[in-house]
Symmetry: C2
Subunit: 361 residues, 2 copies
DNA sequence: CAGCAGTGATTAATGGATTTATCATAGCCC
DNA sequence: GGGCTATGATAAATCCATTAATCACTGCTG
């Protein structure tokens, strides 16, 4: 009988069916156990003579045998796959570069350990929760973990480890591990900088859609706290919830607001604010200082360059990924929540507020 | 016996083992076939009375039964998973936004069809080729498909469909389907624009690492062809291969080159060129016109805003993804290669070259 | 010679869901 | 009663790789 017999796959079109272990075994006249032992060396008490081994290897190569990973996964209950969940591609905190650093930081340790990264469809949450228990994932990194009690409860009974990249909830305990940055501390840094320059009224710019994200809230809280620590405070008029295009900028500026500086909740918002300011002939930083959140390469390319709070997103993501791998290996996580400190990159978009009332020397 | 008995998983730590179909069947006192039929409705000749069905559903819910997707995948030879391969996160053509559009375009149709997207480790190519045949993926989208004959040969014998997002090879036939944009046409558009403004000497800026990508080569070829069509040509001195930081800009400019415009192979290179020009006090577009490749949101935020060739990357990615899904469903692809046209977004970084020799009125 | 160790191999169970083939039983008609 | 259909349900095979249990045989020792 010819060794190269190949069957067609009945189901889908006319693709070739893969060669199985059994076929190699039949062709070689040995048992599947022997073939498995020779090709993958895993069988415990199975023993094969060197002579046979050479023969089997040769036949397997001729037949172009490729082990079926799905069958292996089923047998071993391991898939070497980690899932990634986020709300959507665009809604991720600071913008594309932030996102890219995130993905890079998550993927690096995984790939090094020969794990794959699967992006889960951001469909119904029920589907997400179902796929956490379907055996296809060994662990999950979840950006913006939901905080409703029911979901938290379900997450607690999830059979695989979860690492959340979001601010840990203050009240509810959770079985997930949290990795985040010190958003409040970052806001404090921004205020410290602006305050030392002489700014006393700061506008916090958030965006309507994202107004409820914990990150955004934490940054605003940090701002409020930093101000109160200096004997000032954050009034309702100091918080702007503008649309994506920031078309409200013009009327805001024309109303001669008391603010001399703006703290933007994200990098992309800060970038758009610079565009709007330029469009309305408002000199930054001469007439208005701007601080963004998430300091990336793009803060260097804007005009003026952008002063921004930097969260070590790559390190955070890498830490999350490494923690997850460790948990998958059966270790208990060292910390239930890890918070990374922020830093401030001072660039060209901040200056003393003098220009508004009097000419600075 | 208690219905809620749960075994511990022996292998990894102390995670709960999942409830299996067999356990539900035992608890309900019926066969696994009946449970499978009731819960998933797939069994052909299996019939269950409505009375039993209600009972089974209730028990399954109490036991929190979750079907094991790996076992299903093995049985059905389908995983509802598509792989994505690219060289690395950062080396993708035009920069982060390009990449984000790419990912978004690929993911949208997949998610809509309840497919997952798995990012493959960019490890050894042998590993990649092996994982194409391991049964875990139903199809693959491969950015920058390798072009060496041996790999092409292996790809031809790959059991799953492949869609390549790169310029199709001119010589070698390939079994993969190609989706790309008309890079040459894009370069032609750029030249047309610059030529009409009066530019006659154009520098092509590429980067050392990426110098060999087909996209980059095609753009340069397009430039050369566009010039020759106008009775000019692309000399070796008209091609710059600078480092990532473009630190060579200063010495190049000081050598008073004949060029009045630069065509950059990517968006990010164009952005960095603007930074360098500003750092050296070179007025853009007054003294130097700049055209980038890949027109994205960030071209709006630079100063000046950036004139750029736009490739419809989202549409390309979506098309690639939809084509792959169609092939997975067993359809023959309509086209072996699809090329999308580029357009030119004229913004603020291009102007007549007058400033160099004489003052323009 | 019983007993033991070592070598070379196979058989059958396992993992969990799906499906074909088969088996009962009841009801109905001629 | 024999033959037929419809209903309700199950046993066993299948997908493919892995592995514990087992077997046959040789050679050696006490």
């Amino acid at each position: 009988m010819p060794l190269t017999t190949r069957r067609k796959c009945g189901g889908q079109g006319s693709r070739l069916m893969a060669v199985t272990l059994r076929e190699v075994a039949q062709a070689a006249g040995v048992s599947t156990a022997a073939v498995s032992k020779v090709l993958h060396g895993r069988g415990g008490s199975v023993r094969v003579s060197e002579e046979r081994a050479v023969q089997i290897r040769k036949i397997a190569e001729n037949l172009e045998y490729r082990p079926n990973a799905v069958a292996r996964n089923l047998r071993s209950s391991r898939t070497h796959t980690v899932g990634l969940i986020f709300e959507n591609f665009w809604n991720i905190s600071g913008g594309p570069l932030y996102y890219l650093h995130l993905l890079d930081g998550i993927a690096s340790p995984l790939f090094r350990s020969h794990y794959r990264l699967t992006i889960l469809p951001e469909i119904a949450q029920d589907d997400i929760l179902a796929s956490l228990g379907d055996g296809q994932l060994e662990g999950v990194i979840w950006c913006k973990l939901p905080r409703d009690p029911e979901t938290i409860d379900q997450i607690g009974r999830c059979p695989i480890p979860i690492v959340a990249m979001s601010t840990p909830p203050t009240a509810e305990p959770s079985s997930a591990v949290f990795v985040s940055c010190d958003n409040e501390g970052g806001a404090e840094l921004a205020v410290e900088h602006l305050w030392s320059l002489g700014h006393r009224k700061i506008l916090f710019l958030r965006e309507s859609e994202e107004s409820s994200t914990p990150d955004c809230v934490a940054r605003m809280d940090g701002l409020a706290r930093a101000l109160s620590r200096r004997g000032s405070r954050l009034d309702p008029e100091d918080v702007a919830t503008w649309s994506w295009g920031l078309s409200e900028f013009g009327s805001w500026w024309d109303s001669t607001p008391p603010h001399t500086a703006v703290l933007c909740w994200s990098e992309s918002a800060a970038g758009r604010l610079l565009s709007q300011a330029r469009a309305h002939g408002v000199d930054v930083p001469g007439r208005l200082s701007v601080v963004g959140f998430d300091s990336t390469q793009y803060c260097e390319t804007t005009t003026p360059t952008l002063t921004a709070v930097k969260q070590p997103i790559f390190d955070m993501a890498r830490h999350a990924s490494e923690t997850l791998l460790s948990m998958i290996r059966g270790n208990r996580p060292k910390y239930q929540a890890t918070t990374f400190p922020c830093t401030l990159d001072v660039r060209g978009s901040t200056a003393p507020p003098s220009a508004r009332e009097e000419e600075k020397s």
